[in-house]
């Protein structure tokens, strides 16, 4: 077995003795107890049992030292149950016993959390160190990335996307790349991940324990007040469309667990994200309010004159906007329906001076309403 420097520090041994003076230890394959009558320590790991005096503890063999440093790290250095669970997940602790895990940690264990790649490695004393970078930078030379040490820098990194646009939804798959947190402690890695993807770790942890509290759409409707009361009139089928439009993995990395109600599942795919979405977020509620206003419109039959290619072009434009592909359309790719010149040409040909498609008024009865009621939908009153 090859384990990184198995020696235990005096601090670790002191903590070990102190714990055993009051209670036995059972942790992650390690069982240890203190026999006061014999003034000896009994240490049991999966393949070895030893009984040592206090003086002999510092000579414990490599495998047992690994189990003890593992106990020390998780119980003495990692603050809080949620952080412990997350760090154990990061190093696949449930899949490997400590000696194998220590072997793997020597070269680093990679896990992905949304668009984060988190690598756990082992220091000589058994403490873990964590590196976070964007998954797209997995193969990048660390020197080519901007180094950060303060975990709260993650908040600023996540504020704007690569094009400088504001990311109100932190779990949108639009995290910018080019940065690295190269050496974080367990508590710091938790804070950084929490800053990138707020509340995802704690909700994941609740789910792991079978305690995730889910608030479905109808719960959300019932709770609203002020301007968001309006979502109570959003038709059920519109909730289906909204979930498919907004909660798809292409839009949000959370795995949607909320449904119409506990007994009324939505057909839309909830996604494959590692962390759950436990209730409609404020973005979905705000969008739902807008759709509730728009869905009050009755449908109307219009007559437009379009060539088949023009009809298809309108469909292509909607697809390009919905899939955020506008920036990828080349300037001279006139064959693409959503190309800017194609769109401008269509507008010249088919819009009248008032901007109406094919000269067809939106409200043939003369009623003019642009659907804007004067607020920006960004408030709660």
């Amino acid at each position: 077995m090859s384990v990184a420097e198995p020696t235990l520090s005096e601090t670790q041994l002191a903590a070990f003795r102190e714990q055993l003076a009051s209670d036995p230890i059972e942790y992650d394959g390690l069982a240890a107890e203190y026999d006061a009558d014999e003034d000896s320590y009994h240490i049991e790991t999966p393949t070895r049992q030893t009984t040592l005096t206090a003086d002999e503890l510092s000579t414990v063999d490599a495998e047992q030292a690994a189990y003890i440093s593992n106990w020390y790290f998780y119980t003495q250095e990692v603050g809080g149950e949620v952080t412990q669970a997350f760090c154990r997940w990061l190093e696949l602790a449930d899949d490997r016993a400590v000696p194998d895990r220590y072997d793997a940690l020597n070269s680093g264990i990679d896990r992905e959390w949304g668009q984060l790649r988190v690598t756990t490695t082992l220091a000589d004393d058994g403490a873990r160190r964590y590196e976070i970078r964007h998954v797209d930078d997995s193969d990048a030379d660390a020197d080519a990335l901007t180094t950060h040490t303060d975990p709260f820098d993650a908040r600023d990194i996540g504020t704007l996307d690569a094009k400088g646009r504001y990311r109100p939804l932190r779990t949108a798959p639009s995290l910018d790349s080019g940065w690295i947190f190269s050496e974080l402690t367990a508590n710091e890695v938790y804070d950084a991940v929490e800053a990138f993807y707020p509340a995802t770790v704690v909700n994941w942890h609740r789910e792991q324990r079978g305690e995730l509290d889910i608030d479905h759409w109808r719960d959300e409707q019932d709770r609203q007040s002020g301007i968001y009361n309006l979502i109570t009139v959003l038709p059920d089928e519109a909730v289906e469309w909204a979930a498919a439009a907004c909660c798809d993995d292409s839009q949000c990395l959370k795995r949607r667990e909320w449904e119409l109600s506990e007994d009324e599942p939505l057909d839309a795919d909830g996604g494959d994200g590692v962390f759950p979405c436990r209730e409609p977020c404020s973005m979905v509620v705000a969008a739902g309010r807008e759709w509730a206003k728009l869905e009050r419109d009755e449908t109307q039959t219009y007559e437009f004159e379009l060539t088949p290619s023009e009809k298809e072009q309108i469909e292509e434009i909607i697809d390009a906007v919905a899939d955020d592909e506008i920036d990828e359309i080349r300037e001279a790719d006139i064959g693409n329906g959503a190309n800017r010149w194609r769109a401008r040409y269509l507008r010249e040909k088919r819009f009248d001076d008032d901007g109406h498609l094919s000269g067809t008024p939106t409200h043939p009865d003369g009623h003019d309403d642009d659907g804007n009621d004067g607020d920006d939908g960004d408030d709660g009153e």
């Binding site: 603050g79 809080g80 949620v82 709260f152 908040r155 504020t159 704007l160 504001y166 109100p168 939804l169 932190r170 779990t171 929490e194 707020p198 509340a199 704690v202 909700n203 609740r206 509290d213 608030d215 709770r223 007040s225 002020g226 436990r278 209730e279 977020c281 404020s282 973005m283 705000a286 920006d376 939908g377 960004d378 709660g380 009153e381």
Partner: protein, 292 residues
């Protein structure tokens, strides 16, 4: 373990809305007065629904980074935090005197201390004065200066105007400035006519808002005539009708606001040592002028 949770509005549209919340959280975190400082938002993440579960402490102080007592502080926040048995009467407030209510948050089955908003704490008066110092670059500014505290008005919340009047009166009582007046965006006396309301040649104008955004960066500078188009910026001071207008922008961005958050938590029983004194020292004014 003692936790501070700062709750704020945030925005889906404006990335700067949350900036003061994060800045003040960082300032307080640096004092070490709390074992952790968490932030939660109505419009951003973590949401008000989920912020308490991100806190690890067993002694939790929640301070709303809001200007006035009303819809958000009395209804939305307690509901979203799931404060069992909340009733605005527990604050026993006349609209500007909220203190603390201690209630179990069912999300975490733990008692939390729910504090009144920063905007109605008396210490916010000091932040307004501090902003006057920082916008003029003069730590002893006062003589020869008028001071306008600007608010929304009562259209959306009657307590909003009460908070403006409260701080205006407190600044006036110091006798430090020649004139101190409350002005409003949507009612008389209006900020549009700022020059008409003062005899002083120099007028400091500070909106009692938490974050800079549409109102403080676009509406108010244009309404006062500092600029025809906010995108062109404006000078500090700017000349308007023979007066020099020293426009300070949202007071909540002043670093000293962190002090008011600490005061709220301390009033609720938090053990914060000498953190208030250290924040006051650390956030001493710089000579930068807003709008540059």
């Amino acid at each position: 373990m003692q936790s501070l949770v700062i709750v704020a509005h945030g925005s889906h549209l404006n990335p700067d809305s949350a900036t003061p919340t994060h800045t003040h959280a960082d300032t307080i975190r640096a004092t070490g007065a709390f074992d952790e400082v968490r932030t939660g938002f109505w419009k951003e993440e973590p949401s008000l629904r989920e912020v308490l579960r991100t806190a690890r402490g067993d002694d939790i102080y929640v301070v709303p980074l809001f200007i006035s007592e009303g819809y958000f502080t009395e209804r939305v926040i307690p509901r979203e935090l799931r404060l069992e048995g909340w009733d605005p009467e527990l604050w026993g407030s006349d609209g500007i005197s909220a203190d603390t209510a201690t209630l179990v948050a069912s999300d975490i089955d733990t008692e939390v201390h729910y504090c009144g908003p920063v905007g109605t704490h008396e210490a916010m008066t000091d932040v307004l004065v501090r902003r006057a110092e920082s916008v003029t670059g003069d730590p002893s500014v006062g003589d020869g200066f008028g001071f306008a505290v600007v608010g929304h008005g009562t259209e959306r919340n009657e307590n909003s105007a009460k908070a403006i009047e409260y701080h205006t009166e407190r600044i006036r009582e110091t006798g430090r400035f020649d004139e101190v007046k409350a002005l409003f965006m949507d009612e008389e006396p209006e900020v549009d006519d700022v020059a008409d309301h003062f005899d002083s040649e120099d007028i400091i104008v500070v909106p009692l808002f938490i974050a800079d955004g549409f109102h403080t960066q676009e509406d108010i500078p244009e309404d006062m005539g500092l600029t025809d188009d906010y995108r062109d910026g404006y000078d500090v001071p700017s000349e308007v009708d023979g007066h020099r207008i020293w426009y300070g922008g949202a007071v909540g961005t002043e670093e000293l606001t962190a002090d008011v958050i600490l005061e709220r938590a301390a009033d609720a029983g938090a053990d914060i040592g000498d953190a208030i004194a250290r924040v006051r020292q650390r956030t001493k004014p710089t000579t930068q002028a807003a709008g540059d």
